[in-house]
Amino acid sequence: MLNNKLILAVVSLLLLQSAIVFAGFVAPHDPALQNRDLPFVPPTRIHFVDARGHWHLRPFIYQWAPLPQSVYEYQESGQREYPIYFLVRSNESTNAGVRTQFHLFGVEAPAQIFLAGSDNYGRDQFSRILFGGRISLGAGLLATGISLLLGLLLGAVSGFHGKWVDEPVMRLAELFLVLPWLYLLLAVRAFLPLHIGPAQTFFLLVAVIGTIGWARPARLIRGIVLSAKSRNYVLASRGFGASNGYILRRHILPHTYGVLLTQAALLIPQYVIAEVTLSFFGLGLSEPMPSWGNLLANLQQYSVLVSYWWMFAPALAVILVSLGYFTVANAIQERLQSASA
């Protein structure tokens, strides 16, 4: 029962994340490519039956054509079917000239496939979600790494050392726990320079999100270290003359791995959402770089919110990632408990 759920979660996480890692291959279009004749097109429909009622084995699409006398309204032009091909080689024009790129799937030019519709510049939402995932998930993973590293370091030191190290570190941790992190993030981001490149912004985001969240893992790890420290085998080892480093490495830290894993699985989605929130408020990466928060920020406009349902698609990705990681975290937790019981 649990296993099925876990397998489903792991498989969908793996699928999504490999699609994001290989976004250049999976995504059919360049995420920054504007199709100025096709703003806000709905998701492309995939057909098997053509207008004359003939069945096609290979799925095909029709192009979207703007309705005459209107903007942002489209109909399928049934003039020509564009079959979907897999593993295609396509030529993309860039500033330097034409670049050849392999794609998982695609259609013949001039047609374009918009699996999740397009945004107000006619950019492919699906490609943007995948490329945006690199930013959002990347930020989540890296920030989690920072948090756990900090937590492990400070938690282990304060648990193992005790006394005058323990007190200030734990009080500091409590301070970080009571901070309203969202406002803190907003405040920290506001203090940072605004004129910085996308790469710097990304690492700043990661650093800010990561350093704020170290307190909870640090407290958990401190507890484990504290209880492990007074176990008999640790005392025995110490009696044989083992050094502090050896005891920590050999006897104490292995106890923390389970907690670290659970924490990681809990923190990743949380930090993805933190990045999404910051970008949603316009404090993340700037145009034309996509991130899930940037994509969702389009919905801040009432007219977009009520008119174009496919603009919610990035939220689906966020939900999938969160659910997946929470399921994994649950499973690890349960296994830990049954192991310790």
Partner: protein
């Protein structure tokens, strides 16, 4: 009592309630009162007009108010001597029933209407006018309108001839001088002289002032203010306009301004029927409302055509303070005309019109909007977008391209700069994003940096810490004179190079000469010729790279009569005294 009768009594009470509770019934005309007859469809009294406002007014003081919400509310409570009719864009008599101009164009003699009263019932005469101009011209009051009243470096002189005649003297002839009187609210001396003498003028009439403290000559007067919720105005019973049947205007009992936070709030409240009219909607919301309208035809929408405002991209050409060396280095590109021409040639203005404004806008190549028919230079070239020409221009200017397509200057430095825009103005951020993409085709690496509006103003006006900006200007009046501020090198909105002591370039000095010449030229055809030259010089030298001007989009409930929206501000409320609600027709009632 049977139910039907009870309902009938209730309906009677409801219908009669305005008569019972309205505190300000229109006063009958008195002998000797010189009223203006307004040429509108004759309406009937009653009703409250509800308007959604994005922000709360900051003050009710007409002399110091600078923000749009304040001015919108104050404008309904105040009146001016000579008024620009928003529909015809021509000047018309207001509190001055007539005026004469001396042959040299320097002396204006205004005859005031007799027997008028302020909204608190106190009489109005020339002393109020004198007092008003004393306040507006007082440098300590810091009125934003003061600059308009200083012609040729000297403030306008005001002289009382008799109780109902006032003479204004200018030091030099000034074209369209009547227009400067527009929107200068005439103040009640009996209420404001004391605080003014005591030096507390800037503090009077703040939003918390009680209704009894405030009086004006406009169609409405203050009734109540609930912070965070609404400001309600009621009829000024002494207002000086009547319709053709001698009914004293305004028809409406009240005008209520609801504070709804932002444009989306305005749209939602209007859509729900909570508010009766909406102005300056953006094209997406307009489209949304138009779609909704098919289901429930309660309101009507109007596309009034392009506004007078112009949006543009500009580069920072200011003399920089120390510490901004990076920007100073980039100014070598920005100050090169070929570079600016290349940028202008590469920008896809049609895409801006389409993607930013949903085609409800026109592309611009000059500072005068095509809807300003009197002044726009029709011969101005509208070069189509051409990336090839842009590359050609850059090549001539000594730029070259790296293998990966990145543009390099003559010293081999990569061309990279950022464009700041106001993050609260979605349209401008989007224009910047389109420009970013267009310029990437030239190999320029452009960053879009949306900043909080205040931060943008601070950088543009104070610190000069920016490289390029997308901004908007204009929209006040059709006449070229308010544009002086933009094109004179000493002007307050000469944004690309603020605070110049003398014009930095020959073309700037040419513009300055021509603008000064047109200001003292009284004949329209000659003025037009001069202003055409200004437009040509601007288009040739591109201190601003003009992008587009949006249409003015407004909407109102169908039963709002005499609704005549105009492209000049305030688009919808300029004739608020004439507005009234038509009785619901049977068909309408059934819906």
């Amino acid at each position: 009592m049977d139910i039907r009768r009870r309902v009938r009594v209730f309906v009677f009470l409801l219908a009669a309630s305005p008569c019972f509770f309205a505190s300000s019934l229109p006063q009958p005309a008195q002998r000797g009162e010189e009223l203006q007859t307004s040429d509108n469809e004759i309406g009937h009294y009653g009703g409250t007009l509800v308007v959604g406002q994005r922000a709360e007014p900051k003050t009710l003081n007409p002399v110091t108010a600078a923000d749009a919400p304040s001015r919108e509310v104050i404008g309904r409570m105040m009146a001016d001597l000579i008024h620009i009719n928003r529909a015809s864009q021509q000047v018309e008599a207001s509190l001055a029933k007539s005026w004469t101009v001396s042959r040299d164009g320097r002396i204006f003699t205004l005859k005031l209407r007799r027997g008028l009263r302020f909204s608190d019932g106190q009489p109005f005469d020339a002393d109020d006018v004198l007092f008003t101009f004393q306040v507006y011209l007082d440098e300590k009051v810091h009125s934003p309108q003061r600059d308009l009243l200083v012609v040729g470096g000297k403030p306008l002189e005001v002289q009382k001839v008799d109780a109902y005649t006032v003479r204004f003297a200018l030091t030099q002839p000034y074209a369209a001088a009547e227009r400067i009187f527009d929107s200068l609210a005439i103040l009640p001396r009996h209420l404001l002289e004391k605080p003014y003498r005591e030096g507390r003028f800037a503090q009077v009439w703040n939003v918390n002032a009680s209704p009894a403290e405030i009086a004006g000559l406009g169609p409405f007067r203050l009734k109540e203010y609930v912070p965070g919720q609404r400001m309600v105005l009621e009829r000024n019973p002494y207002f000086w306009k009547v319709d053709k049947k001698k009914n004293r205007l305004p028809y409406l009992d009240q005008v209520a301004f609801l504070f709804v936070g932002n444009e989306d709030g305005q749209v939602i409240r209007f859509q729900a029927g909570d508010t009766d009219l909406i102005s300056r909607v953006n094209s997406e919301n307009y489209k949304l409302l138009a779609k909704e309208r098919q289901n429930q035809s309660r309101y009507e929408l109007f596309d009034l055509g392009p506004s007078l405002e112009y949006n543009f991209l500009m580069f920072n050409l200011n003399e920089l303070k120390p510490g901004l060396d990076q920007i100073a280095e980039k100014q070598k590109w920005f100050s090169d005309l070929k570079f600016r021409q290349a940028v202008s040639a590469a920008i896809d203005r049609e895409a801006i019109v389409k993607l930013v404004y949903g085609t409800r806008a026109v592309a611009l190549w000059g500072n005068v909007s095509p809807s300003n028919r009197l002044w726009v230079d029709q011969t101005l070239a509208h070069p189509a977008r051409s990336v090839e020409r842009a590359r050609e221009l850059l090549k001539v200017a000594g730029f070259s391209w790296r293998n990966d397509g990145q543009l390099l200057d003559s010293k081999g430095k990569a061309v990279e700069f950022s464009i700041i825009t106001s993050s609260s103005n979605n349209q401008r951020s989007r224009m910047a994003t389109i420009i970013q993409d267009d310029l990437s085709k030239l190999g320029m690496n452009v960053h879009v940096v949306p900043l909080e509006f205040r931060a943008v103003l601070d950088r543009v006006f104070q610190t000069y810490d920016y490289e390029a900006a997308v901004m908007g200007l204009g929209g006040g009046d059709a006449d070229p004179n308010p544009e002086m501020n933009v094109w004179l090198s000493s002007g307050g909105t000469h944004l690309w190079h603020l605070g110049e002591i003398k014009p930095a370039t020959q073309w700037e000095s040419d513009i300055e000469q021509l603008m000064k010449k047109q200001m003292v030229e009284l004949k329209y055809s000659r003025r037009k010729r001069l202003y055409d030259q200004v437009q040509q010089i601007i288009a040739a030298n591109l201190p601003y790279i003009f992008l587009a001007t949006p249409d003015i989009l407004v909407g109102a409930k169908k039963n709002l009569a005499n609704f005549k929206p105009a492209i000049l501000e305030p688009s919808t409320l300029w004739n608020v005294e004439q507005l009234f609600f038509r009785q619901e027709t049977v068909a309408g009632a059934n819906r």
